[in-house]
Symmetry: C2
Subunit: 145 residues, 2 copies
DNA sequence: TATTGTTATACTCTATAACTATA
DNA sequence: TATAGTTATAGAGTATAACAATA
């Protein structure tokens, strides 16, 4: 059996790295756009998909239904999102960006990409893709029964 | 400018992977050993270092002083940790594992390594080391001014 | 005055469960 | 009955600030 060393323990390294990134990003989103990370995810998903139910948003963005519901309420209060009835199922509804919401997204997206670029300073394209695929594999293993 | 896609956005992938891993680990630690992740880190650090001040523990384990203080109190209440006075500085003190604390560590460490192995199923040694180094680089970039 | 560690407080995040309205 | 979404509540994590003891 190999010896346990906290500093080489992958769950530790992953947690520390994710916390550092999340702190920097959420500071930036909150300061510049008044958004929490979950709210930003809802916007990003609707920017890619036009009309979606809360459930589909949650599945797409790894958010539970409570988080989606609260994020959507906050975004609707700011006029960034609107609800439309779902003629096929009255329990549900569609969510969609308003023009203001779309405009905010157009402003955030380049800032987000710049931020990602800063994090990936000195990463080659291959290293970036490799990191993405390693993270997906870890995530999938962590979610396995 | 390249297009933003949430599912290929590294901060998103990192957050989702870290949450999945953290959920699985904290479930396991709480259920099996009654420990929070911060408490586990304090134990792991003291298992590697014998006697340390709260401040040094915080630096070593990326924990703020409040978290270290509360974790240490909880662990002392369970008899896993003891305090010794620091003759060089009366404001501080040393923390050290008790025999019970050491015994608990000896029980957790193999379980932690097994859990890490599960997460790294199908990872080669090179991939594991690469992931560690990519995570360190991202963390360092995120903490840069 | 500055620093170590503790306590108080609050805000975010996450998870559980109860509720409503529809199916 | 079961499901989509909302609301209430609580626990864990994290951050700021005030405090006591010591330097």
């Amino acid at each position: 059996m190999s010896e346990l060393r906290l500093h080489r323990f992958i769950p530790y390294r992953l947690s520390v790295a994710a916390n550092a990134v999340s702190r920097r990003i959420s500071d930036s989103y909150r300061r510049r756009f008044g958004l929490k990370i979950a709210e930003w995810r809802v916007i990003a998903i609707l920017a890619e998909n036009e009309r979606m139910t809360p459930q589909d948003i949650g599945n797409k963005g790894e958010l539970d239904k409570i988080t989606v519901s609260r994020s959507a309420t906050a975004l609707m209060d700011r006029g960034l999102l609107l609800q439309q009835r779902n003629p096929e199922d009255g329990r549900s509804h569609f969510l969609q960006l308003t023009p203001d919401g779309r405009a905010l997204y157009e402003e955030i997206a380049p800032a987000a990409l710049r931020l990602e670029q800063e994090l990936l300073t000195c990463f080659s394209e291959e290293e970036r893709d490799l990191l993405e695929s390693l993270l997906r594999r870890i995530e999938s293993a962590a979610n396995s029964p």
